[in-house]
């Protein structure tokens, strides 16, 4: 029993090698309380404020896009429907004389009015 106990009592005990702590400190990536914040390190409220501002600007930009009035024709419209509306709105009202001139010649009008407000029934128009 004594030999067994002596075995552990007399056992070699090694020590951490010199420089081990410095290696650990360099690799662990921590800072001491007195150190200045490392570049790029999170600094708490500063980052939170920047993040809040970014979110706020993003929300504001989104609202502006949604609430932006429909663009004027001169500025150029987007979709086909918008273009069609712009084309009709941009077309000048035909001169009445031009309409009747086409009718006399039996030629169809170059403008496709379809059944719209310009081909008013003269009787109905008078009665309004």
């Amino acid at each position: 029993m004594e030999k067994f106990e002596n075995l552990f009592r007399e056992a070699e005990r090694i020590r951490p090698p010199a420089g081990l702590w410095e290696t650990i400190a360099a690799r662990a990536g921590l800072a001491t309380q007195g150190d200045a914040p490392k570049p790029g390190a999170e600094s708490g409220w500063g980052w939170k404020l920047a993040a809040s501002l970014a979110v706020g600007i993003g929300v504001l930009a989104a609202l502006l896009v949604v609430l932006k009035p429909a663009p004027r024709v001169a500025e150029g419209a987007g979709g086909a429907e918008d273009f069609a509306v712009a084309r009709v709105e941009a077309s000048p009202l035909p001169d009445e004389d031009d309409l009747y001139w086409h009718a006399d010649l039996g030629e169809e009008s170059g403008m496709d009015w379809g059944e719209d407000a310009f081909l008013l029934d003269p009787v109905a128009a008078e009665s309004e």
Binding site: E5, F8, A11, I14, P16, L30, T32
Partner: protein, 184 residues
């Protein structure tokens, strides 16, 4: 299980470490590195590998400290972490065969020149599996109480007592053999 009441410096420096303060890590290193490196040395039977594991442990400790729930003493938890890291290292080094074949039976003990065993204890431990080496060293070399060992190895105290008893018998057999050949 209620959180243990830690000694004040341990709690203070653990909180510093959690806050990312290097001084907290330094205190833990200065307090526990000796014991941890010797534990690793006795498991791995290699000074160089023990130094590697301890370095790894402390570099990773800031990230791991969140896993420590405070249900045991910090030292107990660190012993457990070191123990697991050593076993992982052995497995990764392909020493699983040694875990299965390590059979302390006289001449058929694990080849001693495979390790840096310079003292008699190292030679005695070389014939045991790494888990038993760790257990025996912590109990006999560091005086860790059985209750704490139960937390480190996650085994009932009764099981640990049996293992310790068998391990002691084997070491004594080794010593007797060494004495017979005049080496002790």
């Amino acid at each position: 299980m209620p959180m243990m009441e830690w000694p004040s410096p341990e709690r203070k420096n653990l909180e510093r470490l959690r806050a990312g303060d290097l001084e907290g890590l330094k205190w833990i290193f200065e307090t526990f590195s000796d014991r941890l490196i010797n534990q690793c040395y006795r498991i791995l039977l290699s000074r160089e590998q023990a130094e590697d594991v301890v370095q790894d442990l402390f570099v990773r400790l800031p990230a791991m400290v969140g896993e420590f729930r405070g249900e045991s003493a910090l030292g107990t938890w660190l012993y457990r972490v070191a123990h697991n890291m050593c076993l992982t290292r052995l497995q990764q080094a392909g020493n699983r065969r040694r875990l299965e074949e390590a059979n302390f039976a006289g001449d058929e003990a694990a080849p001693r020149d495979a390790y840096e065993t310079t003292d008699l204890l190292g030679k005695a431990l070389a014939g045991l599996d790494p888990e038993t080496r760790s257990l025996l060293w912590l109990k006999e070399g560091e005086g860790v109480p059985l209750k704490e060992l139960s937390g480190i190895f996650n085994l009932p105290e009764g099981t640990l007592k049996s293992r310790l008893s068998r391990a002691r018998d084997r070491v004594r057999e080794f010593l007797e053999k060494e004495e017979r050949v005049g080496k002790v």
